[in-house]
Each structure stands twice: as structure tokens, then as C-alpha cells.
């Protein structure tokens, strides 16, 4: 692994090679291994290690970035030259701020209304995860294949592990470093005309149980066999957590000061208004024990805990440093709630500004289990997973997509069997205004959005518009 000390040495070499007013160096990368299986055999088994140094130089308000994965002096000289050549031909950017120093990055210089302070981020580095060998991954896969064979199913999926670093150094003395591990198991079980799916991820592989995941996926495949076609229309749906995160993930790009300034956010003119149901409260909280990721942003600013939505009211958006300054000067400054850098900026230069990426839904006052939600449903559809979600209309946040790998009819409080998959066209505003019940939030993984801490949701009047052929 690339260490902080070695990265510091690389930074010092880059500083010596550079003539820029300011220099910022980001480090990223790590080792990654993945075992992939399908048709009950391993068909792909890979490993890699790679680190990238990404340099930003500044000359009188002009900035640009270059990156390389080579750390010898000649390569570092080249990346410095490349960044400086790109930077010096830019037009000066009046919004570009001096790089933050360590005090500003940790919030010690903060003036004005500050967000809720950051809590300590728990360790996300686990020896059990770094110790995963190809043989151990194969043992996990054998257990999954064993479950498939036991139920006369075919399985496909992945078992992966990684060890990664994120680091930042700048010429104003800021430096920060984050190491973490991660592991992931994703399983699909296939029957003759049905399928089931489960996925879990954690920094600590000890939290992943391949047999339990395999058995749950297998039960979904078995229970959804011989799916019948029911007509499209509005249904009460019970979305499992993976389905919730995959669909709600499409709105968090809009919780950005830059998106408001660009007038591309569905929150334009809506901050401070009640957009969702009373029972919807959403935080961005990198320090949450079920979250993962580095506690600092693309400029090294420490991530703050931010209340995005409280009891259905959109409270605020997140900000990179420059976006916050622009917002204060803008015509929207009085209408968007608290304005301050929150530690959510992307690496500079970029067009998108910032985004919350550690989403945590608050627990309901009266959480229901998935079983309770099913038991209380007269007629509805239980959805394991959503797929290929895309935005159809940006201001009402209308999304389309498909159900997949375990879609069930619920009648009279019981799961009655599998149904053919639906296409939905549904507004997120409408959906989050119609949440009738929620489970206790849990860390969930999907494929369309990043991992979140989300509940399962029971939602009325969810709009299915078409049915597919399986």
C-alpha cells in the first residue's frame, strides 16, 4: 500500500519541480481483487494494484489538473509540466479561491452560520478484509454454489475485496489521509423462469454472510417461479432497501449549491418548502457507523453532517468552498437556507460543484419490519430490486426503470407468488410523499446508486406503466 509518508515525499518532490503559485496533490488507489462466478463456476478471477497522483497547479487564478500513475522523478516532472502548461493557458477564474489551509479545512476559521459539526469517523480499516486471499474468496463462492445446487438453481455473482487510500496535500500546509477496506458479495440465483438477488457490502468482511445471502436469493428465485402477468397501473409497493437506494439516489445530484446556481436542480425555488411526507428525514453523514468513505472532500475540507430534509421539508443543500461564496453573492442567497462550505466538493476544476454522498435516512418513529408491511397490505407488489433507472423529467424528478430479480404480488397480507416485471414511471416527489411505512434503516447496496443507509418503504400509488415478458 502507498503510505502517507511516501505520499508526503512525492508531494515534496512535486513542489520542488513546480513553479506554480499553489500546488495541490491528490492520491488515490489501492489493491482490488474480485472473483466472479456464473453457471455455478468461477469464470473470472482478477487482482490489481494501482495508485494515481493527481496534481493541480494555480497561476494567478488559472488552474488545471494532470494525473499519472508513475512516481519516478521524470514522470512527476512531466505531470507538473503538463498541469502547468494547461493551467497557464486558462482564462483567470474570478471564483477560484486560494487553497484552504489546515485550519479552514477543519472548520476552525468558520464564520457565519455553521452546519452541525463533524463527528469522529470510525476506523474503516479491517485486517480481516485485507487478509482475504483468492482461496478464501473461492471458499465463499463454493458455499454460494452449494446453496444453488441444493435448491437446483444456477448462481452468478461476485465476491470482491479491496484496500484503498485517499490523500491530499497542498502548498498551504493542508494534508489529510484516509485508508479503508471494503468487501462485497452480490448473488443472483436463477431458476427456469425466475430469479432472486441479494447484495451486501461492508468495510469489514466479517459482516458479510455468503450463505445467508445465498439462501435469501434462492428463496426469492423459488418463490417467484412461474410468474403471472398482472396488469400495469398504480399499486401499493413495498420496496426493499436496495430498491429504495437505487431510485432515491437519482435526486442527490440536485442537493448541490452549484445545481441551484445552474438552475438544473429540482430544488430550485423549493428549499424551505415541504416537498415530501412528514416521515421523510435525510442526513448526509460520513461519520455514521454504517457509512464508508473519506471524511474530507476534493479540496481537503472535512465533511460536515448536514440535514438535507427534515420531516419532509427540504432544509438545505451542500457546498464546495467556491460554490458557497458564489451563492452568498447570488440572487438566491436569501432563499436557500444556510450557506457555508460543507466539505462535499469534487476535485477542482469541475463543472458539478458538489454532492452529498453519505446518505442516511432517519429512522421512523414507528418502524415496521418487511413482514409487517406485507401483512398490512391488501393488494400490492413487493420489489427486490430496480434496474436501468433513468430520468424522464428533471423538475418533477420523474424516473423510469424496471423491477428485477424477485417481484411478487402481495394480497390479503401475504406474498402470493411471482409476477412479471414492471416498468415504472414515477416522480420521486410523489413517491416520497406517499410513504406509508418504513423499516429501520440499514446499509444497502444496489447497482444504480452508491451505498446508503436506507429503510425498506411501503409506498402507495406507485406508477407501473408497462409489463415485460418475464
Amino acid at each position: 500500500m502507498l503510505t502517507r509518508d511516501r505520499a508526503g515525499d512525492i508531494f515534496e518532490r512535486i513542489r520542488r519541480f513546480s513553479t506554480a503559485d499553489e500546488v495541490e496533490v491528490l492520491f488515490s488507489g489501492g489493491s482490488f481483487a474480485l472473483t466472479r462466478f456464473a453457471n455455478n463456476i468461477i469464470h473470472q478471477n482478477v487482482a490489481e494494484e494501482n495508485y494515481v497522483v493527481s496534481l493541480r497547479t494555480v497561476f494567478g487564478g488559472r488552474t488545471a489538473r494532470s494525473s499519472t500513475n508513475k512516481f519516478d522523478d521524470e514522470s512527476l516532472r512531466q505531470v507538473v509540466e503538463s498541469s502547468e502548461k494547461l493551467a497557464t493557458v486558462q482564462h483567470p477564474d474570478s471564483d477560484l479561491l486560494p487553497m484552504p489551509d489546515a485550519k479552514e479545512a477543519t472548520g476552525e476559521n468558520r464564520t457565519g452560520e455553521a452546519p452541525v459539526s463533524t463527528r469522529d469517523v470510525p476506523s474503516r480499516y479491517f485486517e480481516a478484509t485485507t487478509g482475504i486471499t483468492p482461496e478464501l474468496r473461492v471458499e465463499g463462492v463454493k458455499k454460494i454454489v452449494g446453496a444453488a445446487t441444493k435448491h437446483s438453481l444456477t448462481t452468478a455473482g461476485v465476491f470482491s475485496s479491496a484496500e484503498s487510500i485517499d490523500g491530499i496535500f497542498n502548498s498551504r500546509g493542508l494534508s489529510d489521509w484516509h485508508t479503508q477496506t471494503s468487501a462485497e458479495i452480490s448473488i443472483t440465483m436463477l431458476g427456469a423462469d425466475s430469479s432472486g438477488w441479494q447484495k451486501a457490502s461492508s468495510p469489514d468482511v466479517a459482516n458479510l454472510d455468503p450463505i445467508a445471502l445465498a439462501e435469501t436469493a434462492a428463496k426469492k428465485a423459488i418463490d417467484s417461479a412461474h410468474p403471472r402477468e398482472i396488469s400495469a397501473g398504480k399499486y401499493t409497493v413495498i420496496l426493499e432497501p436496495a430498491a429504495v437506494l437505487d431510485i432515491v439516489g437519482f435526486m442527490f445530484w440536485d442537493y448541490s449549491g452549484m445545481a441551484i446556481l445552474d438552475q438544473r436542480s429540482f430544488l430550485s425555488g423549493r428549499i424551505g418548502t415541504k416537498l415530501f411526507g412528514d416521515n421523510v428525514t435525510i442526513w448526509d453523514d460520513v461519520a455514521h457507523p454504517l457509512q464508508s468513505g473519506a471524511p474530507f472532500d476534493g479540496e481537503g475540507v472535512r465533511r460536515q453532517r448536514v440535514a438535507l430534509v427534515e420531516n419532509g421539508i427540504v432544509k438545505r443543500v451542500v457546498y464546495a468552498r467556491a460554490t458557497a461564496e458564489r451563492m452568498k453573492r447570488s440572487e438566491y442567497g436569501e432563499k436557500v437556507g444556510p450557506i457555508a462550505a460543507t466539505g462535499h466538493g469534487f476535485t477542482l476544476p469541475n463543472e458539478m460543484g458538489e454532492m452529498p454522498q453519505n446518505i442516511v435516512f432517519a429512522a421512523s418513529r414507528d418502524p415496521k419490519t418487511l413482514e409487517q408491511m406485507i401483512a398490512s397490505t391488501e393488494r400490492g407488489v413487493l420489489v427486490t430490486r430496480l434496474w436501468y433507472i433513468r430520468e424522464v423529467e428533471p423538475f418533477e424528478k420523474m424516473l423510469t426503470g424496471m423491477t428485477r430479480d424477485g417481484t411478487f404480488l402481495v394480497e390479503n397480507g401475504r406474498v402470493q407468488g411471482g409476477v412479471r416485471n414492471f416498468r415504472f414511471n414515477e416522480s420521486l416527489i410523489h413517491m416520497l410523499s406517499n410513504v406509508e411505512a418504513m423499516s429501520t434503516p440499514a446499509r444497502a447496496s444496489g447497482e444504480e446508486s452508491f451505498d446508503m443507509v436506507v429503510p425498506a418503504m411501503k409506498i402507495k400509488d406507485f406508477n407501473f406503466t408497462e409489463v415485460t415478458k418475464f
Binding site: 453457471n39 463456476i41 478471477n45 452468478a156 424522464v392 415485460t468
Partner: protein, 488 residues
């Protein structure tokens, strides 16, 4: 780089691999963008590394390293063999590769102007000029442009004796204008959406596209959409422009014909395919007019799926996929060719960069143009009542590739052979084979464009790949329109 490959192959052989290949890859990219009169991003990147793919004990192993020193390369090769032996503990049969003559070759993308030689100031000036044109139209609230250049140099060497040095160059450019008013955001893009047009060409692509000349029209259309009627809902004849049809081909032909999907290898992520093996040479995929090929050869055009050799050393080929409506071919690899009775790979295995395992990817999957002369205006003139739709805005399809829904940026109602009122939020949906069987007219070669899709995602870990899709505007009869907005 031959010495790096030799270190890897020798180590793999000594450790007991029955087959090994290695790729040493050097990548260079430049990305420039502007937003509302300012440079949004300006970055250069390079990445160099190598990977080893081996078969040992009848199973696959793969490892990659950014370190090209002898010790690191040999350790990487040894690791690949170790991984293969672990894989062999969960196998049912040995991997068999279709035979392929080992080739020693050199290949480079033909180009006129190396884009990396164009001064960055010139690139930025062009983007800012476009940006200014877009924002000169009242009502435009956001203008974005992008310009991208990529160069990939690869040395492929195999234990069978292949030794191929290949350099690919690609260029991408596009822009978008947004208009926000009331409760609505409308958008228009050029030459198409989500990054614009991409081809395996040099800077000459930029000069061909008439970017500045089209900017004002695009911006005016974005604003005009606010005053347009909602696209009606119902069943209509529709005409798709070539860029939207290119994406339709990508999603509803290109992905289902990937043999690894068909065989279940992508079941956990990208999905499977309705095109089960029994459908080969039996399924009527489309109407008699539908002729689709997967063509990676330079003579097909400078698509993102054009190359000399794929990433397991198989020469570029043209594979007929649909001929006169009949489904006759899949995208295959050396490992999968035997499952469809072929004794040679179709040459479609490609990897993103140096650190990913090659997998079956679309090459240039193209709908061949109509043989009789037919312009878009003539096609409109021959349509009684329909909707002309242009430029993709949203796309979604199920995991077997049956049910799809696409939204476009703009549409026009056609009545009595004339292009009439503009309509906003046009969308259409259907079932893949029903849709392709409803095609009744394709414009001819002079309306045909080879579009690039630079962002096709597949695999675990996910790999992003560029693919090409040639298409001419085409008409489809009695298609479901507007159900995206039904009930909302």
C-alpha cells in the same frame, strides 16, 4: 515493451500456465469543458500498466500491475497463475479457446490531425465561442460544452506467438443548452446528447461537425420547447433520427447479441438476453428491411468499435447479425465461439485500459442503410400521421432486453406528409422484436451516420467501453408513444 511481455509470459509458463497473454498499455487523455462562459474542467491524464491473463489447471486467472519493473511483472504473472489455480477449484470443465493464427502486426487508427498537437488555447476558444452562441439566445439558463481526446497504445503478446502493437485514437465533442422556466427544464444537444459525437478520428472530426454554425439553432429549440405542446399519447408511426436510432440499436440489438450475456456470465449485473441459443437462424428479429452487422473493420468507418485486432489478438471482422430480418449471428470470443458452432472467434474481446480483463463488447453494431434513395424529408413526406423524434434524453431497457422506453429531447408532429408543430417530452416504448418488425422504411446511405457511444458500461468490476452504431433515419409503424407520462 516486448521485454516486459516476455518476463510475464516466461513466468506464467514456468508456473504451469497452459496459455498466457499479456497487454502492456499506455493511455493518454485530455478533457476540456466549459459552462456558462467559463472553463469547467481542464485535465490531462496518463496511465501505464500491464496485465497477464492465464489459463492454468483449465481455469482463468488475471492480474495487473502499474509497475513495469521485472520483479513486479514476474510477481504479477505468478499471481495470475495462483488465482487461476484457485478458480480451478470451482470449475465444471476446462476452458477451451478456439484456434487463432498467431499474428505479428502493427496497426494505428488512421487520422489526419493528431488532436494532442492542437494548442489548448485553440480548443478552449472554440468551446467558449460555442458557449457564447448558445447563451446569446434569451431564455438559455445553462450552456455546457465538452471536448475529449484519447490515445491508447497497446502491446499484445501471447504464449502462442502473437505480437501486436496497436494504437487507437479517438475524439469526442458536444454541447448542450438548457432552458429553465416555470416548472420545467428543457434541453437540446448537438451533435447528440451525453457527450456529443465520438469517433476514432483525429482533430478533423471537430472541423467536420459545424459546431458553431448549429449552436444558435440548438439554443433556440431549447427555448421554443417551453411553448410547445406536450407530445400526444397513443399509438403512432414514428420516425427516429439517426442518433436516437443508434442508441436504440445499442440497447435492443447490440447488448442482446453479446454471447457472454446469452450464456449467463452477466446474469448478476448487466443481465442476460432473450436471444437464447435456439433463436439463432430461427428468430425473425425484424422486418425484411432490417440488416445489421457487427463490423470492426476500418472500411466500416471510424467508429469507436473500429480496431485492427481485439484484445486477444483476433483480427477485426464483419459479422452479419440480422440479415433481411432473420437473426443469424452473435458477438463471440475465443472461449465462447464453440457454443454457437463456430470454430473461430468473432473478434470482439476488449478491455478498458491495462488493468481490466477483456470481455465481449460491441464493435460497430450498425443498421445498414436502405438501398433505394430516400432522404429524411422524403420519408416525412411519405408519412400520413406520425411523430419525428430527435436526440436521446432518457433510455431504459429490462435485463433481458425485451421492454424498452426511450425519451427524446424534441419531436415534431407529422401530418399529411408535412412536419408540423413542435412537441415536447416525446417518448416511445415497446418490445424489442415487435419494434424491429414494425420498421418499414430506412433512409439511404447519404443520411447514414456512424455514431459513437463512449460510455457503455458492463462487467464486474464495471468497464466503460466505446462502441459504434451506424444508422439512417427510419420509420416504425404503430408504436406506443407517451406512456412515460401516463398517470403522472
Amino acid at each position: 515493451m516486448k521485454h516486459v511481455a516476455d518476463w510475464a509470459l516466461n513466468t506464467a509458463s514456468v508456473r504451469g500456465a497452459s496459455y498466457a497473454d499479456t497487454r502492456v498499455v499506455a493511455l493518454r487523455s485530455r478533457a476540456l469543458s466549459t459552462k456558462n462562459g467559463k472553463v469547467g474542467s481542464a485535465s490531462d491524464a496518463e496511465s501505464v500498466g500491464m496485465s497477464v491473463r492465464v489459463i492454468a489447471d483449465g481455469a482463468w486467472g488475471f492480474a495487473a500491475s502499474a509497475d513495469l519493473g521485472r520483479g513486479a511483472v514476474e510477481a504479477t504473472a505468478a499471481r495470475a497463475v495462483e488465482i487461476a489455480r484457485a478458480s480451478a477449484r470451482v470449475k465444471q470443465h476446462d476452458v477451451q479457446l478456439a484456434p487463432e493464427k498467431a499474428v505479428v502486426a502493427e496497426w494505428t487508427t488512421p487520422y489526419k490531425i493528431d488532436p494532442f498537437t492542437i494548442p489548448v488555447e485553440q480548443n478552449i476558444d472554440l468551446l467558449l465561442k460555442i458557449d457564447a452562441e448558445l447563451r446569446s439566445v434569451a431564455g438559455i439558463t445553462l450552456a455546457e460544452t465538452n471536448l475529449n481526446f484519447n490515445r491508447e497504445e497497446q502491446w499484445f503478446v501471447s504464449s502462442e506467438g502473437a505480437d501486436i502493437h496497436q494504437t487507437k485514437l479517438s475524439t469526442g465533442v458536444g454541447y448542450a443548452a438548457y432552458a429553465f422556466a416555470g416548472n420545467e427544464i428543457q434541453k437540446r444537444s448537438y451533435p447528440t446528447s451525453y457527450g456529443g459525437q465520438w469517433q476514432n478520428k483525429g482533430y478533423e472530426l471537430i472541423e467536420e461537425l459545424r459546431l458553431v454554425e448549429n449552436a444558435r439553432r440548438i439554443a433556440e429549440e431549447a427555448v421554443a420547447l417551453h411553448h410547445a405542446d406536450q407530445c400526444p399519447e397513443g399509438k403512432f408511426d414514428i420516425i427516429l433520427d439517426s442518433s436516437q436510432l443508434g442508441l436504440q440499436i445499442h440497447e435492443s440489438v447490440g447488448h442482446p447479441i453479446e454471447l457472454d450475456r446469452v450464456l449467463g456470465m452477466e446474469a448478476n449485473f448487466a443481465g442476460t438476453s432473450f436471444l437464447t441459443l435456439d433463436k439463432l437462424r430461427t428468430l425473425r428479429y425484424g422486418s425484411d428491411l432490417v440488416n445489421v452487422v457487427a463490423d470492426a473493420r476500418q472500411e466500416h468507418g471510424p467508429g469507436l468499435g473500429t480496431f485492427g485486432f481485439d484484445d486477444e489478438g483476433v483480427a477485426a471482422q464483419c459479422t452479419p447479425i440480422i440479415t433481411n430480418g432473420l437473426f443469424i449471428g452473435y458477438l463471440s470470443s475465443r472461449e465462447t465461439a464453440h457454443t454457437i458452432g463456430e470454430n473461430r472467434s468473432g473478434g470482439t474481446l476488449r478491455a478498458e485500459g491495462w488493468n481490466r480483463l477483456p470481455m465481449i463488447r460491441m464493435t460497430n453494431v450498425s443498421l445498414l442503410p436502405g438501398e433505394k434513395p430516400l432522404s429524411l424529408e422524403q420519408l416525412v413526406a411519405s408519412t400520413d400521421h406520425g411523430i419525428l423524434m430527435q436526440t436521446n434524453r432518457s433510455w431504459s431497457i429490462d435485463d433481458k432486453r425485451y421492454n424498452f422506453q426511450f425519451g427524446c429531447e424534441i419531436g415534431w408532429e407529422i401530418k399529411n406528409g408535412k412536419r408540423g408543430r413542435m412537441v415536447k417530452n416525446p417518448s416511445y416504448s415497446g418490445i424489442t422484436t415487435e419494434f424491429w418488425n414494425s420498421l418499414d422504411a430506412i433512409c439511404s446511405r447519404d443520411e447514414w451516420t456512424l455514431w459513437g457511444t463512449p460510455n457503455c458500461g458492463k462487467g464486474q468490476p464495471q468497464q466503460v467501453m466505446g462502441t459504434g452504431h451506424g444508422a439512417a433515419p427510419s420509420r416504425f409503424r404503430n408504436i406506443k408513444v407517451g406512456s412515460a407520462f401516463k398517470g403522472n
